[in-house]
Every structure is written in structure tokens, then in C-alpha cells.
Symmetry: C2
Subunit: 341 residues, 2 copies
């Protein structure tokens, strides 16, 4: 049981995290919320968001204070038509100092295109389960690993590289995934010198005790690796999973504006955890995200018109908790009638 | 920082809670999820759910293992037309042993009706803020308190009484609410001998650090009171708030099937935390809810047809995490083509 807290103030302490801090009270601890909606979200949309709108969204996100944005994917335009303007988007954005602009690349050709277009970081993806890797990437896992190793060997010196491991918390087709299976792949990429690894809950199967256990053990085994946790809110556990990861010491979390995203192999799934909801919650708890929430809400409010449908995120509709509503117009009369009772 | 956990198993320990337990790992600790959707949810619906359907839902909920169900409200049929069949519903349900069937009552007349109809517990409601109390109940808080005291004095001996304090974590019209303001009302009801008090987040303004602080302090001050926490998922923090409350030692939580509910004074708000999502998450974490999740999902799946619109809860759509999906029909061919590369 955690120590009792006699105050509900969420005023952040000025200074470093207290040793007595629990996960509920951020105490100005820094958390990096990383935007993946422009890639993990837009890739599955039917609508093609015009290039100028994509550029404006990325610029709005960096202006809001995001410090890592996955901008697009350098893949075949036939595979992902909605991201066929990867070069134009990268060339159109205004890079903010201190922000890392990453791109998903599937192979050396994609990596070369991404580097030429100005990507700061390459995101390499494979699944820890054979069935999901075959279904999603049309390759056996060993073939994916060989291809990604080739990317790392070829261009790894020129830009930083991170690896996203899909289905770390369960596979929608194979079911449970053992931590040992995940850690084997972490070790193989660590052996290649990769220092950024995302443990991805591709279809919303992660739950807090599992997250806490796996993240704690991963940090214990590989203290030199910068782990990111990537959750979907498919079953309503997204924020709880982030807090479990925070309590295990992870500080980097993927999220998508408006809760964009989903997975074609998990019907009915809602999207990634919603960037503005995660930032809103963490800021209320006293964590330092460095992000301007209102700017994020303004950007999220533009999405439905661009995508052609409603977003899972609720915060744009409800407003932040500090946005009050006017009382009923006849409140004075209600009060008067009450007083006359 | 919590101790490291080297396993992601969610197998529940057979036995009492370990002293080293953290909130992420339930270790068979008992949690009571209490259903409020039949009252807090249906009261704001335009559709009148037929009496026989209400009875069938309540019976399905108790058969699923719920041990406290707020069945309806004994109020003026003009005030809440959708609950105008309160007597018929209470007389129609099949009471399960060990389940408490409660009813909201606004006054002595309502309490007498509820007791006559067979309610096991009366739920009395007032707001801790004047503006919300006036807007919602058309009375000053002191008038509400006097009326509720009259109910307690008149019928409190015949059945158990619980008090729900609205807006404990913020008022949609007045904004922040101080813990002192909440605790003053808790004290006044404690002085009347009330032992069941719900701290209600009527419009989804609660956040985890606030919940942890207020619940910890409330339990410290009133160890004899049985506190319930009541959250809405308006801003995506429902489950995280429940975990913060659990970490503070609270074991009773309100929730609504399908995420039913809302508040007319907080436009755009989604509903109560969703019963089946809360149960799904807590069970995965190893808590003992005593509830049959599939029975709950079956009941929740009936709601959209009864209410005439979609529900906020995602779990009915996505299915529990252990429900796998078939791989693509051409997986064998994909594998063969991959092997030939």
C-alpha cells in the first residue's frame, strides 16, 4: 500500500522527483508523449488527407511542444496509398529545434528515401508473433529481422534507428505472447546496437499488471535501452497501462491525436491512446509533458473534417476539466423559488 | 518506486492479499463493482425501456454476479419519465441471495414507495456545490440536507441508507471543489449515523492524483465509513481513477453497463465508467470481482437496441482480450510465397 496523501493539490514540486513519489503524483517528473497518429493513424484511413493539411498538422504538433513525431512511412504507395506523399510531407514541414521527426521504413530503399527527405530517425517494425508478421508484413519473422538488420548495417550510422516490436502484449490471432518471446527479440536488436525499442500493444490486449511486469523486467535486463510503450485503447485500458509503465520507470509513450488508429486484424478496435487525453491526465497529475494542451486540442478538432468521421477521443468534445459550463439561465429564479419554500 | 515484478502472469494467488502487493497486481483481492446503469444511465435516456426489458436486465446483472444494483429511482414520473415504472420493476425482479437492490429516493414519500416495493437500500443524493444542487435538485444544499435527514430519521431503521455526494471532484459550473468542502458534508452525514457514502465524480472531472489524495484522506478520517467511488469516463480517466482509488484502499466502485449515463449540465460528456470494461481489466489484473464477464457482455450487447443508440463502451465491440481472430484466409499462401523469396 502506498503512503497516504493528505492533500489533493496537484501543484508540482519545484525540483526533482521526490524519493517518496508514487505514480499518482507526478511532482514535475518529465514524461515524453510521442505522436504516432500521422503514421499509425492515417495509414489505415480511407481518406487521403491532403499533403498541405498533413504538413499543417505536423507543424501544429511540434508547435504544441511534441518532441518526437512519427511523420509518415516510406513504403510502397500501393501498400499504403494514404501515405503516398511521404517525401512532400517531410520536405514541407518546418522543423522545430529539439524535435525528432521519425519515419517508418520497411527496408533499405525506404530508409534511403527517408534520409534523403530529411528524417531524423528511422522506425523499423516487425511482429514478435509469426502469424501477425506474415499477415501484416508478408514475411517470416527471420526474413523481417534480416531485412531490418540490413537497414541498420547500411544506414544506421547516418541517422538514429528505433525498432517497434508489434504484438508484445498479445497477438490477435495467436493469443497470449510470453515475455520470453518478446525479450528474445529485444536481445537480438540490442545485439545489433539498437538503443531505442518500442514494446507495442498493437491491438489493445495489454493490461496493467502485465505492462508493469514486462516493463519492469525489460528495464532491469537492458538498462541501456530507451524503451517506449505503445498502447491502443481498444478495451479502455490505455491510460491505466501508461500509468503502470510509468510506475515501472518508463518515460516515453506513443499516442495518437484524437485517438486515431486501429488494426485491420482486430475488427472493432478503437485506436491508439489519445494524445490529448494522455497529456491532459498527466498534466493534472503533476507530470511535466512540455506540451500546450490547448494547441493539441485545436489540432485534434481539425481531424474529423479531414478524415471524414468522428474520432474516439472524448476530450475534444468534453473540453478539459477546467472548462466550466454556464449554469441554467434561470438559476436566479430557481434559487428564489427554493428560498420561498 | 514499486518492487520489480519478474513475471507477467495474472494468475491469482490463492490466499489473502500479500503485504507486498501493489495496485497493479490484484492477488485475489476482492473488489465490488456496483451497477448504477439502470438508474444513473437510463434516467437521461429519451427512450423508455419497456418494463419487462428492465426487469430482464436487472435479473441478468444479478445472475452475472453483481452484488449491488441500483435498480431505479422513486421520483416524480414527470421529473424522470424514463423511470416511471419503478414499482413494477422492483416487483418484477427475481432477487438473488446476497445481492443488494438499491433505489434512489429524493424524499420521505419516495423512501416509503421504495420500501413498499422491496428496496434493500435507499440512495440519497445531494451535491456538494450550491450551483449544481440548485440546477439538479432545485433546492439549496441546506434544504437538501434537511430533507435527506428527514428520510434517515423516518425510515433509516427499516432499510440501509447510503448517501451519494455529487461533484466531489469538481463542479461543471463552479469549477474546482476543495476536499474540505467535501469532507464537511461527509462529516454531517457521518454524524447522522450514515455508514455508506459515495464520493461521486458526476461529470468526469476527477483525476488520479486527486482521487488518490481524497480517498486516502477520507479513509484515514472515517475508517468506519464504507466509501464508494463513482466515476464517469468523460475525459478518459475512469479506469485510472478506479486504480488510484484501489491504491488508496477503497474497494467499492460504481459503474454502468455499456458506459451508460451522462450529465445534462456537462455537454458532450460520455457516460459512467463501463461495468464490463472495469470488470475485464480488474479480472486480468488478478482482482476477484465475483462477476461472470461473458454474462455481462451478453447483457451489454442488448442495450443499443433498447436505447436506440450506440454505447460508449468498446469492449462489446472488441471482445475480451482472450478472444482471438482468425488469420487471413490466404495465410498458407502468404507463408509459401515468403518461403520462396
Amino acid at each position: 500500500m502506498s503512503p497516504l496523501h493528505a492533500t489533493i493539490s496537484n501543484k508540482a514540486d519545484s525540483g526533482a522527483a521526490s524519493r517518496a513519489a508514487d505514480v499518482w503524483h507526478g511532482q514535475s517528473r518529465r514524461v515524453r508523449v510521442q505522436e504516432v497518429g500521422m503514421r499509425d493513424g492515417l495509414q489505415i484511413e480511407q481518406a487521403f488527407v491532403p499533403t498541405a493539411e498533413k504538413i499543417a498538422l505536423v507543424d501544429a504538433l511540434s508547435a504544441a511542444g511534441l518532441r518526437k513525431i512519427e511523420v509518415t512511412a516510406f513504403v510502397s504507395p500501393k501498400a499504403i496509398p494514404s501515405l503516398r506523399d511521404a517525401e512532400e510531407v517531410f520536405r514541407g514541414i518546418t522543423k522545430a529545434p529539439g524535435c525528432t521527426y521519425s519515419a517508418l521504413v520497411p527496408n533499405v530503399r525506404g530508409a534511403e528515401r527517408a534520409i534523403a527527405a530529411g528524417a531524423d530517425e528511422l522506425n523499423l517494425v516487425m511482429s514478435v508473433t509469426e502469424t501477425h508478421n506474415l499477415a501484416n508484413l508478408r514475411m517470416l519473422r527471420e526474413q523481417s529481422f534480416a531485412g531490418l538488420r540490413q537497414v541498420i548495417d547500411t544506414v544506421g550510422g547516418a541517422v538514429s534507428v528505433s525498432v517497434s516490436l508489434s504484438c508484445c502484449f498479445g497477438c490477435p490471432m495467436e493469443g497470449d505472447v510470453s515475455p520470453g518471446q518478446v525479450f528474445d527479440w529485444v536481445q537480438r536488436f540490442a545485439d545489433l546496437g539498437v538503443v531505442g525499442i518500442s514494446l507495442c500493444d498493437t491491438t489493445g490486449m495489454a493490461y496493467p499488471s502485465q505492462v508493469h511486469g514486462m516493463a519492469s523486467e525489460a528495464r532491469r535486463r537492458w538498462p541501456e535501452i530507451d524503451f517506449t510503450l505503445h498502447f491502443h485503447n481498444t478495451r479502455g485500458m490505455g491510460l491505466a497501462n501508461i500509468l503502470a509503465g510509468l510506475d515501472a520507470g518508463v518515460r516515453h509513450f506513443d499516442a495518437a491525436l484524437g485517438g486515431l488508429g486501429g488494426c485491420p486484424y482486430a475488427p472493432g478496435a478503437s485506436g491508439n491512446v489519445c494524445t490529448e487525453e494522455v497529456v491532459h491526465a498527466l498534466q493534472l497529475m503533476g507530470y511535466d509533458t512540455g506540451i500546450d494542451l490547448q494547441a493539441l486540442l485545436d489540432a485534434a478538432a481539425r481531424l474529423p473534417a479531414l478524415i471524414g468521421h468522428d474520432m474516439p477521443g472524448q476530450l475534444v468534445k468534453a473540453g478539459p476539466r477546467w472548462k466550466t459550463h454556464p449554469p441554467p439561465a434561470d438559476l436566479a429564479e430557481i434559487r428564489q423559488r427554493a428560498l420561498e419554500k
